[in-house]
Symmetry: C2
Subunit: 180 residues, 2 copies
DNA sequence: AGCCACTTGTTTAAAGTTCAAGGAGTGTCC
DNA sequence: GGACACTCCTTGAACTTTAAACAAGTGGCT
């Protein structure tokens, strides 16, 4: 409910303690927001399904293997991996446990910090990635890049970067998933 | 893993049965895709948290109440609601069961089709919506609209509509969540 | 009428995620 | 060196989602 009904008139100015008149979305803003949510929901569903079918894991898990594969010695500290994937450490713990059970990741102790753990991509994990990457890229292309002009691709990147940055402010005390 | 490594050379042309050389993402495409996934993940987390805190339900459930509230007689057939929300009927069944338990939705039999069910927004459900809508719009504004120029908002709408439409083709046999 | 393919919505179990709590290690401050 | 705050990661329970199977109803066809 991004707009309940048209406001009767000008809102009461700000000096009082009462809540501001909500800044409802305009019709146009609502259309944008609806398209956004629909696109994201459908895309999420589509990629999850594609990867579950072809790689035996959800999109997020696949993304974790990718991050590990791109990292030096194919390993990352748990919190660092959570930060890169924009998820909570709890979620990551469960995910890595499952990927470990599947044999695609193993854990290693961190020598420098006895609290720390590395998640390490196994050879099997790398192999799964190698075999399923082409199909996944193709799915992403078909759903996204093949349908957008170069200018639209550029815009999308800029826009989503702005949104992403807005949600991870530099200030201390920000509510970031990987620090929860 | 949107690109494993640089292809050695020109791909083998299409007449053979072997798999095509994957169309890896360029560096620029990868940046776009990464921003997109990060933005979506963070936004999803942010709105889920905001609504869980203020309305006691996840974002998807809130969206269901909104759809019901916008509909004639505040009711929709299950499959129609699933189609609007871009989710599976199974997921919707569970969600409505939970919303019913919370008292915000009730079910009603469809007189015309004995298989059918309406999900109906209760007065309490409407009340929750009324009270939490302002906070939610504000969250959406702060995270998205306040940060984007009018032109960017327009682009985002167009882009996401293209993606959404691409994932729900008109053809029969399309793999649409609400028909699974 | 009876058959058959299809639609509608739910159910069960398994998988994944969130939330709150906690154990262990680190680092700082006095 | 001891107290204290903080970081790192995990755990278990509650909740949500997925996947597969199913019961019931519909509609077309003969």
């Amino acid at each position: 409910m991004e707009r309940m009904k048209a406001p009767a008139s000008a809102p009461s100015p700000g000096s009082t303690a009462e809540p501001q008149e909500p800044r409802w979305l305009t019709d146009e803003e609502q259309r944008v927001w609806r398209s956004f949510m629909e696109g994201v929901t459908l895309l999420d569903d589509h990629l999850d399904r594609q990867l579950q079918r072809d790689a035996g894991m959800p999109h997020v898990y696949y993304g974790l293997l990718v991050k590990l594969g791109e990292s030096p010695r194919r390993r990352l500290r748990m919190t660092e991996l959570a930060r890169l994937a924009k998820i909570t450490r709890s979620r990551l713990s469960h995910a890595i446990a499952r990927l470990e059970k599947s044999g695609w990741v193993r854990r290693e102790d961190c020598p420098d910090d006895k609290r720390g753990q590395f998640a390490v991509l196994t050879e099997e994990g790398y192999e799964v990635l190698r075999q399923t990457a082409p199909g996944h890229v193709e799915a992403v292309r078909q759903a996204v890049f093949d349908r957008l002009s170069p200018q639209q691709q550029k815009s999308l990147g800029e826009i989503m970067q702005i949104i992403a940055e807005g949600l991870q402010p530099a200030e201390a005390g920000a509510d970031l998933p990987w620090l929860r």
